[in-house]
Symmetry: C2
Subunit: 145 residues, 2 copies
DNA sequence: TTATATGCAAATCCTTTGCCGTCGA
DNA sequence: TCGACGGCAAAGGATTTGCATATAA
């Protein structure tokens, strides 16, 4: 990830190196606060403002992707070559990445049929584990949305 | 919409009636500020806090749907029986609603294949009008996401 | 009458910014 | 060297909340 920064011509400071490293080493989807927390372990003097600024710089350089799951704060993941979407386990908050070409094609088609060229999309699925479901026979199987 | 409020057992105050009316009469997807602006025309003394509280109450009663398009503020629309998604025209900000059964089915399938029961989803497509495109031959046709 | 709702202002949360000293290329 | 960067604290926007008063049922 640090290499990517250099390739994009970003000035590599100690703080940026740390943020890059934190993001490289997590497979999670941390929010800014979490990145700050992890970065602080490597450099106790780093400031939250720097974290926010760095995240923004990385995002603008295209090496970082900003995600919003609708809980008011942004989350980040390193930009992937391969596009993917997210399924959020609503019981644990776990985030699962997935790819589905059919879905992409369908989205293109829908946009096109509406008279648009698709330039982007955001999609999150929310689900409950089927396993847990089986054991704990739940009542509501109706209210989808 | 007011009827819905009563059905759900909500106390109908003057302010709630006004917010309900504002939401009933718009086919738009207003944010809280916009609802407040419109409501203020009918009752110049209504407070923004009341608007926020009312929007929340309506949402919790299931007669209102909260949308987030990733620009930091929530938008609202009356809850539809029929589920639909949104395409945002990135050139004008216009919001187009659409339904697509294939898409719903595919989402169910994806979740299921990952070991989850789908309990919800959020999806927005972002697009540029094909017409405008043709006239203004644009450069970037690469960077999808 | 009495629990609920409203108005107002202050508070909260997440994020950005101004200013000035510091550091990377 | 010198412009870009980081730290700090203050500002910002969206949304929520405490408290006293007003109001629906």
């Amino acid at each position: 990830m640090e290499r990517l920064c250099i390739e994009r011509g970003l000035r590599m400071t100690g703080q940026r190196r740390i943020v890059a490293r934190v993001l490289s080493e997590t497979n999670d989807h941390p929010d800014a606060e979490e990145v700050y927390r992890l970065a602080s372990k490597l450099d106790p003097k780093i400031s939250i403002a720097t974290v926010y600024r760095t995240l923004r710089v990385f995002e603008e350089a295209g090496i970082l992707q900003r995600l919003e799951f609708g809980d008011g704060r942004a989350r980040f993941e390193r930009a992937a070559i391969e596009h993917h979407d997210h399924l959020i386990d609503t019981s644990s908050g776990k985030v699962i990445e997935f790819q589905n070409v059919q879905l992409e094609d369908l989205q293109e088609k829908i946009a096109h049929d509406l008279g648009y060229r698709l330039v982007g999309h955001r999609m999150e699925l929310f689900g409950l584990p089927l396993a847990a479901e089986a054991s704990a026979g739940d009542k509501d199987s109706g209210g989808e949305c």
